[in-house]
Symmetry: C2
Subunit: 401 residues, 2 copies
């Protein structure tokens, strides 16, 4: 009996999901002790391991019966309430726990929002470049991607408005704070302007915000959600704030959307992980979160500064870079004619890996860019790795001339 060939049976939606170069390259990098600027891993030295263990012990002593049983699909109420209060307070917004749903990282929120809104062929406005995980999640519903340029202060809103004129376009996806991959943040005025456009044209924004708490000097401006609350789903994540292995994030929704999101979510996995929800809620209410966050912010700033310094020192002058004010990534533009896909092949021979820019575009362009993660390498490795990339780049520039 021949094996069935699955290729021809797979759904059109599935076949539209692009592969993750990041995941593929991570498998290589993890096996071989590379200096890796490729992943998007938080610095594990900053994980509050002892505190998490104490919290796990405490909640399993107090609430094992609840933790171990099935639970509501919206998530653990005290945790949803903590989230609502923190961000209502931080940005002077009206947010209630009833609008907060706990998800498996903010990734699941993106997937479920895509499921809720996208019919095959619907337009989705997306930044150029954009977060690869979102491109994958959205692609699984076969939208038409409507790309807009990402400028130093956020998306080009003229282009956004042009797309918003289309009737069969419902959705925009954006990461206004310290975007992955570019490190770019929206200015306060662009946030307000985008909110006006959303309301005027009756469009919906997925405002993906996993890096909200990871800023270097100044807290990020208020989210677009604040100025167009019924037109925005605003996600957040404990992955960068505490630890990604706990796999808990959230989304803050317009009231009217909550029951729909909840029903769509039930069909995917019934309810979020109880143990980690209880652990996180206990951790947040029994520890000094601000102190922890300050340590993360300080460390990531140090790592970023070390990378920026090395870039300035080793790279040729015609390489330009963004100036992130937080997050975990910086973004380079190579001199004309140099492909980052070729470059990474060379640097991997020398034990250094990063992600070529085209992974973050929906149209295959972007080879002139590279994404560099700075949160998961020691300072000496950062200097050494950047030096190697610069040296390989210079060799390629000579051969191009």
């Amino acid at each position: 009996m021949e094996k069935p060939s699955f290729e021809k049976k797979l759904s059109k939606n599935y076949r539209n999901i692009p592969p993750s170069f990041v995941r593929n390259i991570l498998n290589v990098a993890e096996n071989k002790q590379f200096i890796s600027f490729a992943g998007g891993l938080p610095n594990p030295e900053l994980f509050p391991a002892n505190e998490i263990r104490e919290s796990a012990n405490a909640v399993l002593k107090e609430s094992a019966g609840k933790i171990l049983q099935y639970a509501g699909s919206m998530g653990y109420y005290p945790l949803r309430d903590w989230i609502a209060k923190r961000y209502a307070n931080k940005y002077s917004m009206n947010i209630s726990a009833d609008q907060v749903v706990i998800t498996n990282g903010s990734q699941q929120a993106i997937d479920i929002l895509a499921r809720l809104f996208i019919d095959h062929g619907d337009g989705v406005v997306i930044e150029k470049p954009s977060y690869l995980g979102a491109i994958q999640a959205l692609s699984a519903y076969r939208p038409e991607f409507c790309q807009v340029d990402l400028e130093e202060d956020g998306a080009n809103l003229w282009q956004v408005e042009d797309w918003f004129l289309k009737d069969d376009l419902k959705l925009m996806y954006a990461v206004p704070n310290a975007q992955n991959p570019s490190g770019i943040s929206y200015s306060a005025s662009k946030r307000k302007h985008l909110a006006e456009l959303l309301k005027t044209y009756d469009k919906f924004l997925i405002e993906d915000d996993p890096y909200n708490e990871i800023y270097f000097e100044h807290c990020f401006p208020a989210p677009v959600k604040k100025y167009a609350t019924n037109n925005v789903a605003w996600t957040g994540s404990f992955s960068k704030m505490i630890a990604p292995g706990l796999r808990n994030g959230w989304v803050i929704l317009p009231d009217e959307l909550v029951p729909h999101f909840d029903k769509a979510k039930q069909s995917t996995d019934l309810n979020p992980n109880n143990l980690t929800q209880f652990v996180i809620q206990h951790y947040l209410t029994n520890n000094d979160l601000e102190k922890h966050l300050q340590a993360v912010q300080k460390k990531y700033n140090e790592q970023y500064q070390a990378m920026q310094e090395a870039i300035n020192r080793f790279f040729p002058g015609d390489v330009s870079c963004t100036t992130p004010s937080g997050g975990m990534f910086t973004w380079l533009t190579l001199p004309a004619g140099i492909s980052s896909v070729d470059l990474v092949q060379e640097t991997m021979k020398k034990g250094v890996v990063f992600v070529p820019g085209n992974s973050f575009y929906t149209d295959g362009s972007g080879q002139e860019h590279i994404r560099l993660n700075f949160s998961n390498a020691h300072l000496p490795e950062i200097e050494k790795g950047i030096k190697i990339i610069a040296s390989e780049l210079k060799k390629m520039m000579v051969s191009v001339c």
Copy 2:
């Protein structure tokens, strides 16, 4: 500014998901101290709470760095290996850890398999009745449901074969062990026959098996997977074996399907919850699982026997019921002309709740059936609750005459 109306923006796929009467009724039941036969909750007295706490403490001492970081999307290798070895051994099958993927309960496996295979309009063979969570997950991809009768020894395979003649039908969904809602299990010979049909017609089966370890007297026969390994994805779950709040299940896939499943899964939530995977693996390798499972099996059998006895005692003779050999549910057929939807309205006034049968059909039929869960009520409650349902039923029968 008017609120945007989401109704008209929601995707066709989303709008095809039926609501969960079970979830809705559970919200009512939980609030009001009902005697509930409605949910599908394991008995919380059987959760190994202390052992789970010890395991959480141990793994967070030993492996916090790994647990708290992002991880592979396939899941924790030692846990996948444990699953492969247990079921290879139990049924003399060839299963390797590379074919096992950890999911958020088996529910997520169903959702991802549906995503992989179903294009709008594709036929999906489904038992009548079937598991509501699967109906919801599959509906989100807008298949044509092709119903087959569920007989005392499993699906009617003549009907299955008739449907398999269709070209645009790729998939069947079935729960061959102690099915939710009916409690019915497939005979060994029907499993083998179904395997032959799958191979002959080159169709694919989602063999959903959350109750595999929850049998009363005899272990369930080998799965369909054993006889048609390349045509079957076989799911399992720790929800009934240990505790559902840990939200970990798995799926065992044909080799060729693994990378596709993995990619589709990445786009939904990146990777499964690390903490609970490590906790479960530690629990399984440091405790006497067989002793725990025997306690669960004994307790559920007691609860089932109490329910069956009460049914025999209080219900009129023209109510028939299935004879589950495991699992958590039994299934009644009411006398002609009586609607379980009307009946539950009456029993709820008396503080007893169950799920009317039509929730488990894709065509709205099934009102003559009721699903009774026996795993989450104390023995005296079981007797009292069944007595109340029988009494309300008798009143309705009088008024029908």
